[in-house]
Amino acid sequence: MQTSGVRTRRWVPVVAALALLIGACGSGGDSAGGSAEVGVSADTIRLAASQTLSGPGAASCAPSTDAAKLWFDKVNTDGGIAGRKIDFEVLDDGYDPARALANVRTFEKDKFAMVGACGSATAAAIYKTLSQKGIPFLFPTNGVSEVVKPASPGIFQVLPLYEDQTASMVRYGFEKSGKGSIFVVVNPLGAYQSAIDSAKKQATDLGGTFTNSAVATLGTTDYTPIALQIKQAKPDYVVMSMGGSDSAKFVNALVDQNAVPAKAILGTTASVAGSFLSSYNPGAASKIFFGSAIQLPAGKDADCTKLLAGTPAVDDPIALTGCASARAITTAITETKDLTRANLMKTIEGWQKKEVAPGILAELSFSSTDHIGISSLFIVQPQGRAFRTIATCPYGEDVQSQGACTAAA
Amino acid sequence: MTAGSRAAASAALRISNLRAGYGKARVLHGLDLAVEPGEMVGVAGPNGVGKSTLLKAISGLMPRMADRMEFGGAPLKQSPVDAVVQGIAHVPEGRRVLADLTVEENLRIGGIGGRVQDFASVRQGVVDRFPSIVPLLHRKAGLLSGGQQQLVAIARGLVAQPRLLMVDELSLGLSPTAVASISAATVSSCRELGASLLWVDQNLAILGKHCDRVILLRDGVAVDIDPRDTGATNSAYF
């Protein structure tokens, strides 16, 4: 870890300096009006993404842009969008905010829009620049509120925020198994204090109690101490917002130490990853409930399910999200008559209960002030080596005013 | 191979026109040297004249060129490991005992390096000749006095069952008493084991006392001298 960090950062300044130069040269060319938009020509639409392709997060992140690329390839094979083919370039940022920003500077001169990729920390680093330059940033895998609350021009996401999810999951748990005490464990996925605070507020608002919380760095080698703390605190619920492998390690430590809470382990979309399924101890499965932005398993007839069929990606929530997001992007581009960045944003802001990837994503609704599209949260449970949707809960910024969850058929 | 067979074999060292040095600074300019089996040869000369270089060139520790370089009738290869296998043990300047190892372990290393078959009896034979080493066997070599370390280094050379023992600066930094006793033990051991000795030292007097023959290194070539002839010696040194 240490060593690769040193290695990569050494050339970051060089890249950043180059990117600044290129950016300075290129910034004069984006003022042309009409359909002569940056990154759009008569036969091509240029899209790009800055993705975690190296380091510890690479294995779980890369499938999202890989799946997006597959979708764009399919669109191109089917003739493109109004005669234009999609050109999609992905650069590695190693989950390093500075490199993500350098990548944006490389892209800004000739890309039409940025496709969302892994990472709350990287999204938080680049969204301001993108918004100021008027470059659409479509559907980053982000759970941090500052990126989309309040709505920044051009920044849209389909995934729910971690802070809203921890509250929703507490509410779901209390609804299902009765109110009780909670213990919150988080990885610092971008800003994390709000995820703890909102779980605490929700629990106390609903008549439960908050026991304690713990923050563990991503890639923590030993979760046993936290499991021991939980074993002593004996909470009814453990609420977690952690990366896929870390979730699995943590759950396994709970099982090893007989510290699985009495009622449930509640988690966020961050846990809903192939890396969790491949390595968690199924002994605890019946007590695990995660929020998910996508329906799992994905509907058999969904376009992305068919596209990814026969590959491991068809069971990988992150790959499915990547494909569904790409499908949402091509839908938005198709529906935008005069293809400029501003018009594309208007198209998305006009979506109400829009089905962009039926069978995978719930309906999306945006407005000029609300750039989080999701309207309901799927509750999934691991079963063996797959997730299964067991309920759907209404999701929005005001958790209190929502109706009850409905069990899945 | 038994303990005695190696030492008994003919082990003449024959060197002619040896040239060697450090990088471009050549120290030896066409040196001729012969050591007969069982012969005790002293090599004297002032600092920097190439005494250590001569020994390192023989054991293959440094690059060298020569018209002829043979030991026991076979050419000497440019490899310290081969030199040991051919029967040449080199006790380097500064003793170079393995400080973190015990004395016993230092002796074992000598035997391992020399590919000695019957180590236990060879070791016993050497220890018997250096009785003062016995109480030190389980101490770390690095914690011994200079004289004790010199003893260990020579014993370590002898357990490799050499047919030629080369000792570099035996007397350096040691008290006259220590020099006297170690020298005597070394020479008598070599004689009893049938090994020849090539002994490099600045102390001409001690060489003269113990060796069959003393040569002087001067300007990179060897000159036979009579160590008791102080006039010749002084002219060589100054």
């Binding site: 870890m1 240490q2 060593t3 690769s4 290695r7 190296s54 510890p56 690479a58 294995a59 890369a62 713990a214 923050v215 563990a216 760095t217 890639g219 923590t220 080698t221 030993d222 046993t224 101490p225 936290i226 021991l228 703390q229 074993k231 002593q232 492998s245 699995a248 390690k249 090893d256 130490q257 007989n258 192939g274 491949s278 390595s279 968690y280 491991p312 | 520790l61 310290p80 490991v81 030199a83 040991v84 296998v85 380097p92 393995l98 400080a99 973190d100 190892l101 372990e105 290393i109 000598g110 391992i112 390096g113 020399g114 590919r115 770390k140 690095g142 914690l143 011994l144 370390q149 370590r156």
Partner: protein
């Protein structure tokens, strides 16, 4: 109090793991003077060879382990001849940097071959409920790790102390030139050291993988603690590597429970700093005993 005690015992369990990785590094350092930064990735590669033997070749776990151990011995020798041996005059710093480069290369190879789909859940060698000590449940795998750690340490100790090969390793480590002068076959010994340390690494990877999962970067988060542990214990001492690593595990886990997770790392590094200032050779390391 019960919680702190349990945390302490859990720290011993994880510390043993750190220490086992440390063994291979210490053993190589003892014999060649090189701090091998590629130890972690070499070990992970061994773990993946075992994994691939099971999934791709369909071998049972025990056979896959044998394949992996043999393969890593060969790999260790290959690394020595290809990466370490050329231009020995470049010095130990140069060679240490080469191991760093090798580590990055191996990491990239593993990302390319096995990156997608990682981490993998690796089968445990022993199943069972483990043993309850205070409030802490020692998992069966941890008991196995403790037993293997003890066995490896005993074997290595005996090797270095009593065997001709081990003695030669130590001579080479202390004075490579003198060792050559005394007739020790330097090349063969060095190659053997690399083979042994690679095999050790693979043993650790196979023991570690069931709890940490198998991914190309699995070892990296452990290495930081391992290096801290072996420097704390004295870079040249095998018992020191174990002691230092167990101290790191116990101190960090107790601090985590008593204070917070961040404090755990902080206290460990503060401890390292204090030990380095007061006892630069580490807890069980020996000061250089060469008389000049």
């Amino acid at each position: 109090m019960g919680l702190l005690l349990s945390a302490g015992i859990s720290g011993i369990a994880v510390g043993l793991l750190y220490g086992m990785i440390g063994f291979a590094i210490v053993m190589l350092y003892k014999s060649t003077g090189v701090a091998n930064f590629a130890q972690g990735t070499l070990a992970t590669l061994g773990g993946f060879v075992c994994w691939a033997s099971m999934t791709d070749l369909g071998l049972p776990l025990w056979a896959a382990i044998v394949v992996a151990l043999v393969a890593s011995a060969v790999l260790g020798v290959a690394v020595y001849f290809v990466v370490i041996r050329p231009r020995p005059s470049a010095g130990n710093l140069n060679i240490t940097v080469r191991t760093l480069g090798l580590s990055l290369l191996l990491l990239a190879v593993m990302e390319w071959r096995w990156g997608a789909g990682a981490p993998y859940r690796f089968p445990a060698i022993v199943e069972g409920t483990g043993v309850q000590v205070a409030d802490f449940v020692v998992p069966a795998q941890s008991l196995l790790i403790a037993a293997v750690a003890a066995a490896i340490m005993g074997t290595l100790w005996a090797l270095f102390r009593y065997s001709n090969v081990g003695l030669s390793f130590r001579a080479m480590a202390e004075q490579p030139d003198t060792a050559r002068l005394l007739g020790l076959p330097a090349t063969r010994l060095s190659a053997a050291t690399w083979a042994i340390s690679a095999v050790l690494g693979t043993v650790v990877a196979i023991l570690l993988a069931p709890s940490s999962f198998l991914a190309p970067s699995t070892m990296e988060s452990y290495l930081l603690f391992t290096f801290t542990g072996i420097v704390l214990g004295g870079l040249t001492s095998l018992p020191g590597a174990l002691l230092g690593s167990v101290i790191v595990g116990v101190v960090s886990n107790v601090t985590i429970v008593a204070l917070s997770l961040e404090a755990g790392v902080l206290v460990v590094f503060a401890l390292l700093l204090v030990v380095m200032l007061l006892r630069p050779q580490g807890l069980l390391g020996r000061p250089e005993s060469v008389r000049l």
